[in-house]
C-alpha cells in the first residue's frame, strides 16, 4: 500500500476540532456540474 496523502493528525477525528485542523489544508470540490 502506498499512501498518496499525508496521514491526518488524530485530532481531526474529534468533531469539535475538525473545523480548525481539517479545513485549513483542504478545499471543497467546486462546481455543480462537470
Amino acid at each position: 500500500m502506498k499512501m498518496l496523502t499525508k496521514p491526518q493528525k488524530k485530532s481531526c477525528c474529534a468533531p469539535e476540532q475538525a473545523a480548525q485542523c481539517c479545513a485549513k489544508a483542504s478545499r471543497l470540490v467546486s462546481g455543480c456540474h462537470d
Binding site: 500500500m1 496523502t5 491526518q8 474529534a14 468533531p15 489544508a25 483542504s26 470540490v29
Partner: protein, 471 residues
C-alpha cells in the same frame, strides 16, 4: 477491524492497482493487486497482506472497528465541511436578457418565453442592487456578480449602458463581476471590463473554426470563431482573466487537440492559471434536448472522461490545455491533498441566487428563467417565496432520503438539484455521480503512484511531499 463504510475502492484501468479513498478524512492510497480483496474480507477474518500497514489504515481512517467509528468520522467531516462552506462566496447571477445573437445548436434556452429576450430596464438594475443591499450587504466573503444570459455582452448602446451600471453598482459595494459570454462582441466591451472590478470572463469555443462555427453560428448563419478568438486575445492583452469553456459531446471532443494547438500557438497556455484557464463542460440534457441536438451525440460523464483520457494519451499536448478534476484527483495529483468532503453539491439559495430580466428571483444558473423555479421577485418589490426557497435551501445529502445511507455522498454531494427536480419533481432527490469510475480514470490520467508521472509533484510521501495548504 473492517473497511470504513465510506471507503471507496476504484480499480485503476490498466494497472491492476486499486485506488483507496477515504473522503471523510481526505486520505488516499494505492493498493497492490489482491490487497483490496483482502481488505474487503477483513470481517471474515482475512489477514492483512504484508504490503499493507495496519497503522496506516487506521491513521487514514480507511478501517474502523465499529459503526460508531464511522459515525464519528462522518460527524468530524460534516463539521469541517460546514466551516469550509462558510468560506465560499455567494454567486449572484444576473440575466440582463435571455436574448442572444448566436444560434447554438444545443441551446437549452431555446424553449424559453420569447418575451424574455427584452433587455432589463435600468430601474430593474437598481432593484437588483437594492436586493443586494438588503440581503447581502454584510456578507463575508463578499459575493460576486455574474452577468449571464442569453448573451449579456451585445454591442448595442443599451447593453453597454446596462453593463456599465452593473460594473458601477458592483464597484460601489466592493463586489467583483464575472461575465459568461459567447465572446462575439468582446471588442466593444474589453475597455469597459478592463476598468471595472472584473474577476473573470468565461468564453466558449467549441473547437477549431470549422467545428466551432457549425455548433455556435451567429443568428445570421455567419461564422463566429474568428471574432471570438480575437476577443479572447483582447481580454488577455487587457489583463482580464479568461476562463475558456468547451461544451463537449461526441461531435467535437476529438477536435480538442486542434483547439489545444491553437491555444498553444496563441501563447494562451503559457499564461498562469490566474490569467487563463479552461473548462470542459459536458453537453447534457438539462430540461430536455434542444431541437437540433441529437441525444445520441451526448456523452455520459464516464464516457466523456474516458474518451478524454484516451485522447490525452494519444495527444499529450492536451495535458497542457486542460487538467480534469476527476472529483478531486487532479487536486491530489497537484498538491498531495484531497479536497475536503462535500455533502452538498447544489449551491442554489445557499451560495447562489439568480435574477431574471423581468424582476423574478431564482435559485441558480440552471433554473433561472424556468417558470417552475421562480422563488420570488426583486422588482418591483422584493418578495421571497419562503416556502419555495426552503425546499432548495434544505437540500443536501444529509436531507435527501436516498443519499443518507450512500457511501459516495461525501464526494457526489447529491449532484444537481435542478436535474433531480426534472427527474423526480423535487430537489430533495439525488442526481448521482459515478464517483468510483471517475476516481479510477483520474488515477490513470494523473499516473498516481508512478515516480515520474506527468505534471505532478515528484513525490507524495516523506519529506518531498508538499506541505502547504493550497486553498
Amino acid at each position: 477491524m473492517r473497511l470504513s463504510s465510506f471507503a471507496i475502492l476504484a480499480p485503476v484501468p490498466g494497472s491492476g492497482q486499486v485506488l483507496l479513498i477515504q473522503p471523510l478524512t481526505s486520505q488516499a492510497a494505492l493498493l497492490e493487486p489482491g490487497a483490496a480483496g483482502a481488505l474487503a474480507r477483513l470481517p471474515d477474518g482475512a489477514a492483512l497482506p504484508a504490503s499493507v500497514s495496519e497503522q496506516d489504515l487506521r491513521d487514514a481512517g480507511f478501517v474502523v472497528d465499529s459503526e460508531a467509528d464511522d459515525r464519528a468520522l462522518k460527524a468530524a467531516a460534516i463539521s469541517g465541511w460546514t466551516a469550509e462552506a462558510e468560506k465560499t462566496p455567494t454567486q449572484l447571477l444576473v440575466v440582463p436578457s435571455f436574448g442572444c445573437n448566436l444560434a447554438c445548436t444545443y441551446c437549452y434556452q431555446e424553449t424559453f418565453d420569447p418575451a424574455g429576450a427584452g433587455l432589463m430596464a435600468p430601474e430593474v438594475v437598481e432593484a437588483f442592487f437594492a436586493y443586494v443591499d438588503r440581503h447581502h450587504a454584510l456578507e463575508r466573503p463578499r459575493p460576486f456578480v455574474t452577468l449571464f444570459g442569453g448573451e449579456p455582452l451585445r454591442d448595442t448602446p443599451a447593453h453597454r449602458d446596462r453593463v456599465g451600471r452593473f460594473l458601477d453598482g458592483a464597484r460601489a459595494r466592493g463586489l467583483q463581476v464575472a461575465a459568461v459570454t459567447n465572446g462575439h462582441d468582446l471588442a466593444a466591451f474589453v475597455p469597459t471590463l478592463a476598468s471595472g472590478p472584473v474577476k473573470e470572463v468565461q468564453v466558449t469555443l467549441d473547437g477549431p473554426r470549422s467545428v466551432h462555427d457549425r455548433r455556435r453560428p451567429h443568428a445570421s448563419g455567419a461564422g463566429t470563431f474568428d471574432r471570438i478568438v480575437a476577443g479572447i486575445d483582447d481580454l488577455i492583452a487587457a489583463g482580464i482573466p479568461v476562463n475558456l469553456r468547451v461544451v463537449a459531446d461526441r461531435e467535437n471532443l476529438d477536435a480538442l487537440p486542434a483547439l489545444a494547438a491553437l491555444a498553444t500557438a496563441k501563447g494562451w497556455l503559457d499564461l498562469p492559471s490566474s490569467r487563463f484557464k479552461t473548462q470542459i463542460g459536458r453537453n447534457y440534457e438539462l430540461f430536455g434536448c434542444a431541437s437540433r441536438q441529437r441525444r445520441e451525440a451526448l456523452f455520459d460523464r464516464v464516457e466523456l472522461w474516458a474518451r478524454y483520457l484516451e485522447l490525452s494519451e494519444a495527444h499529450p499536448e492536451l495535458r497542457r490545455f486542460h487538467r480534469p478534476r476527476f472529483h478531486g484527483i487532479g487536486h491530489l495529483a497537484e498538491t498531495g491533498e484531497l479536497p475536503a468532503p462535500n455533502f452538498d453539491a447544489c449551491p442554489a439559495t445557499k451560495k447562489e441566487w439568480a435574477f431574471g430580466p423581468d424582476g423574478k428571483l431564482y435559485g441558480c444558473t440552471a433554473t433561472v428563467g424556468h417558470p417552475a423555479h421562480v422563488l420570488g421577485t426583486y422588482h418591483p418589490v422584493i418578495a421571497r417565496d419562503d416556502r419555495a426557497v426552503e425546499a432548495w435551501r434544505r437540500r443536501s445529502t444529509l436531507s435527501i432520503p436516498a443519499c443518507r445511507a450512500c457511501a459516495l455522498a461525501p464526494v457526489c454531494g447529491g449532484g444537481c438539484g435542478a436535474i433531480a427536480w426534472d427527474r423526480d419533481g423535487t430537489p430533495l432527490a439525488p442526481d448521482c455521480r459515478p464517483v468510483p469510475d471517475l476516481y479510477a480514470l483520474g488515477a490513470r490520467y494523473y499516473a498516481l503512484g508512478e515516480p515520474n508521472r506527468s505534471g505532478a509533484a515528484p513525490s507524495l510521501q516523506g519529506d518531498d511531499r508538499p506541505t502547504g495548504g493550497s486553498a
